[in-house]
Subunit: 290 residues, 2 copies
């Protein structure tokens, strides 16, 4: 019931996916899932490599989930290249591509929503209404479809990673959620499928983002006021040529609430625009006395 794309086995249905995963688990093999929206880059391949280190079998899923895009967002123009993605996965240590149609994921009268409360409310929760409910619902479904032992997500989507950790814990899904560090270009720009949208001029400006985050994180770690440092960072980003700032904030790394208990890890998070392209990034802030 699995077809092949090049040399890579592909499951198009939940039933085909489960047949593969069930056989592996019955054989005592540890299975990892790497959920993606395709348009794979070296950041995704780092997820596959991490998964392959931790598991005997690696399933990558590609599903551009319509419910996590807002009405004015880039669902229609989001880059899609299934054959290219399959070739990249075949060259990595991926055992199965799960690439379902939207009809396999959402019945016509689908109506259930998983929502995650406070951790999903600020930051991207504020600027992308409904986004995290879409993410939480589809990730719950993918985890329950595949039943992996491990699921790997990139730290670039830091708030998303916290949302997913929370839903897995709160709904008692038997899976270890693992975050994998951001992969960057040599100039510091975080890899993103959306980087292809950037014009050459925008691409030249883009590395300012990570330099600014690193600067804010260093200042705060050295004792600067988090809100003042974030404000200065936001101004620096706009001065460098970014056209709009959604937020640049220092938050508790796990709860995404204001970073009050500074013995806990902090995180600087940013969402900003270069023309039509929205870029996000984040950087750790070490807790005090750690």
């Amino acid at each position: 019931m699995t077809e092949k794309l090049g040399t890579l086995p592909v499951a198009r249905s939940i039933a085909a996916l489960r047949r593969c995963v069930t056989a592996w688990r019955r054989a005592g093999e540890v299975v990892a899932l790497v959920p993606t929206m395709g348009a794979l880059h070296a950041g995704h391949l780092a997820l596959i490599a991490h998964a392959a280190q931790r598991a005997d079998r690696v399933v990558a899923s590609i599903f551009v989930n319509p419910t996590q895009f807002g009405p004015n967002e880039d669902f229609n123009r989001y880059p899609r290249d299934e054959a290219g993605d399959a070739a990249k996965l075949a060259g990595a240590r991926c055992d199965l591509l799960y690439a379902p149609d939207a009809a396999e994921i959402y019945a016509p009268d689908f109506s259930t929503t998983v929502s995650v409360g406070a951790v999903a409310e600020p930051l991207d929760g504020e600027f992308r209404p409904g986004h995290f409910a879409g993410v939480a619902t589809v990730v719950t479904k993918l985890l329950l479809q595949a039943h992996p032992d491990i699921a790997c997500f990139g730290e670039k989507d830091w708030q998303q990673l916290q949302v997913i950790r929370r839903l897995a814990r709160d709904l008692d899904i038997e899976v270890a959620i693992e975050g994998v560090p951001i992969v960057r270009e040599e100039d510091g720009l975080a890899l993103s499928s959306r980087n292809v949208y950037l014009t050459p001029e925008e691409r030249r400006i883009a590395p300012v983002l990570h330099r600014t985050l690193a600067d804010v994180a260093a200042r705060v770690a050295a004792g600067a006021d988090p809100d003042a440092a974030a404000k200065a960072g936001g101004e620096a980003v706009l001065k460098a040529g970014f056209t709009k700032l959604d937020y640049l904030a220092v938050r508790d790394a796990e709860s995404l609430q204001p970073w009050v208990a500074r013995v806990r890890p902090g995180r600087v998070l940013v969402a900003t625009w270069l023309g039509r392209t929205r870029l996000i990034d984040n950087e750790p802030v070490a807790p005090r006395n750690s």
Copy 2:
């Protein structure tokens, strides 16, 4: 890790539950879960008997879930009798009681909600705000904690049964949801843990409820207008001495929306009060030309 209540093994933790169920499933046994809030009566024992017919192993859970009670509802006075319940289960074909503490189910910062959309909105969804989100969330958790092959629910909570069917389908939970017919007293009163609240005078009036539902169902099946028949039924209930009517309605049996497509099964549903006690009941209406 399981203790015993009388002769019945009891799991107090998710880990203890999973150890039992995993061992059974590894041995190729089919496992059924019967979620309850305790205060067991013959209706619950019919669920156990149904489960035992369909499965090799039967787990009953007892958890009085605080999140499905409204602030002015009967959470505190809801009847609790764990030792009596355990004796009843030991006398039925139950293999394990899962009776977790609230702390095992809800972490202090628990914040995830499963909500089910249109099927949960009318009727009890309107009169018990938040009730079905509480039910959907805890049932999702119980299903993912126990991983049963089958889960059995009483048809007395008809709308709840449709909510649970929907969440299991929409979230791709690998379980067969089975509804079990209502068990009634000889005079027609549906068994309910809340019947113990009734005074002798209220108990005398209570059987009018099912007689009225049966009458409405018969009239509608014979061609009467559903809304007119429901209205007459509601008036009859109040005239008989019920003190308040939340709703008496004829609905599509699956969607709980108005029963427009009368080739589909219909259902008459009622929620009404006798003093401080809220009673619900329901009755099928056969579709046309079936």
